[in-house]
Amino acid sequence: MSQQEILEKLKNAIEETDNDLAEEAAKEAVAAGIDPMVAVNEGLSKGMSTISELFDEGEVFIPQLLLAAEAFETAMGVIFGDLSDEARRKASQGKILIHTVQGDIHDIGKNIVKTMLSAGGFEVIDLGRDVAVEEVVRQAVENKVDIIAGSALMTTTMPAQRDIIAVLKEEGIRDQFKCMFGGAPVSPEWVAKIGADAYAETASGAVAKAKELMAEIRK
């Protein structure tokens, strides 16, 4: 199979939300010695872009998006499985720590954003759901991330986003990280009020915002 055919297979696997096909195509990409970033950018991410566009247009719904994300993550695991951290970093658009804030167990939105960010070329560290503020900050420092991204799905858990900013300030490290937040009750006004750097309404919007933040960091 030619490189082009393998890339096409990777793209189709995501568009068809076929986890087994994604794993098979990823193994073929590794066996053929395709550059991992080419496999991602010319194969998987193109498939994810199709799904993302159809989702934004209301033609694809959350269940399909979740399965596409699952297939994407499976293929990524195969493609990047043996690469060193250094190689991953070089291939990355930036490093993002993502989480759902303390007290909040809703993580579908966060998981979708995580996949979209990965598809957008970011290295994403997922702390999961219901993560304590101190843990978010500790992991951000330890992993030397560029961006802290968080989701809150309840009005009662939104204050944890404010607390993250407060702890970063208290520790004198606020300027080391860009902070972006989202979630159903979160608004641009809230994000501005707590002194965070960006708000995103949708998963695809989060990728665009993350790229803008990285451009600011790399100025």
Binding site: T17, G58, F61, I62, P63, Q64, L66, L67, E70, I105, H106, D107, I108, N111, M154, T155, T156, A184, P185, S187, E189, W190
Partner: protein, 337 residues
């Protein structure tokens, strides 16, 4: 007390004034010395808050039990976390695969906290006789998503449909029994909260939600018992599916423009919505709340079957002052009509 609910709905449609039924319960705890934990475990305390809601906001056209969306899942075996300052939430799942779906037992209606809400509705129907009482409950797909975990349920709705259907049949069996208990207790209707169905495609919504909601509607709805189906998701493409349930009322969240949904629903049904509980009613200033409410009311002028409401259940932290702004906006709009 029995009420002809068809007439109740017709009167609303024919009235000159726009009517108002927000999903309002927990914010009025601030007017009492009770916390969330007490009122979701004690029928008398729950009823007292229902009364407090109406004495504070007498323009509400119905009494409603608080939307504790965990009691059904808890009765099925989920653990629930309680706090005095927020609505309870389930903390674990009990269905992981086909085997656990098959072994899931449909609980007795006497088990768990369901009887608390049924009893509260009974007290309300006996003591609040000038307007109908509604019981709040979770829809079948939303309950299945709590029992299985939302992400697992959504994925299985494509990859392992049979497991989802097994759980849905059990949720529907319990839901019908719960709805009948509200009816037998004297409630005049129920509000079925089915938000998770808002994440599905129209075809999936037909298959995994509306089919089962229709079974519930068919089991209880009649001239004296009114079913409102609530879905606060992105429902513009799901309206036909929702209406296929036969419910006589549809309640929408702030994810949609009300014009886009109400324009798809005939004037034979009541359509409720959709002031944003978070960005407007919780975070907003009096000016923003009034402006947003009046703007919605203006847009809804061509639709006589519109009933002003909130886009979802209101969390406890919303201030009474903010709610007063919302009610004042409707009063001012109706006076200016």
């Amino acid at each position: 007390m029995k009420i002809n609910m068809d007439k109740w709905a017709r009167d609303i449609i024919e009235a000159d004034e726009v009517k108002n039924l927000p999903i309002l319960f927990f914010p009025c705890l601030a007017l009492s010395n009770k916390g969330v934990t007490e009122v979701v475990n004690d029928a008398q305390a729950h009823f007292e808050i229902m009364e407090k809601v109406l004495s504070t906001f007498p323009k509400m056209i119905g009494a409603m039990t608080g939307m504790d969306l965990t009691s059904e899942a808890e009765t099925f075996g989920c653990n629930v976390s309680f706090s005095d300052t927020e609505a309870p939430h389930a903390t674990n799942e009990v269905v992981f695969d086909r085997a656990s779906a098959e072994s899931l037992k449909v609980p007795s209606l006497q088990a768990g906290r369901g009887p608390v809400f049924v009893k509260a509705a009974q007290l309300a129907s006996q003591n609040i006789t000038d307007r109908p009482t509604f019981g709040g409950m979770l829809g079948p797909y939303s309950l299945a998503a709590v029992l299985m975990g939302i992400e697992r349920t959504l994925k299985a709705s494509i990859k392992d449909k049979q497991t989802v259907h097994i759980v849905l049949e059990k949720c529907t069996e319990y839901g019908i029994a719960y709805a009948k208990a509200f009816k037998e207790a004297g409630a005049n209707g129920i509000l079925i909260a089915e938000p998770t169905a808002g994440l599905l495609s129209p075809k999936q919504c037909d298959e995994f939600s509306s089919k089962y909601v229709k079974e519930m509607v068919d089991a209880v709805q009649d001239e004296e018992f009114f079913v409102v189906l609530h879905n606060c998701g992105q429902t513009v493409k799901l309206v036909n599916s929702m209406v296929s349930t036969g419910a006589k009322g549809y309640h929408f969240g702030n994810a949609v423009d009300m014009v886009d949904v109400i324009s798809q629903i005939s004037e034979d049904y009541l359509v409720f919505g959709n002031i944003d509980p978070s960005r407007v009613l919780n975070e907003g200033t009096a000016e923003l709340i009034k402006g947003t409410t009046k703007s919605l009311l203006e847009k809804m002028k061509p639709y006589r079957h519109f009933v002003l409401s909130t886009g979802c259940d209101l969390p406890p932290e919303i201030s009474i002052a903010n709610l007063e702004s919302y009610f004042e906006a409707l009063d001012e709009f109706n006076k200016d009509k």
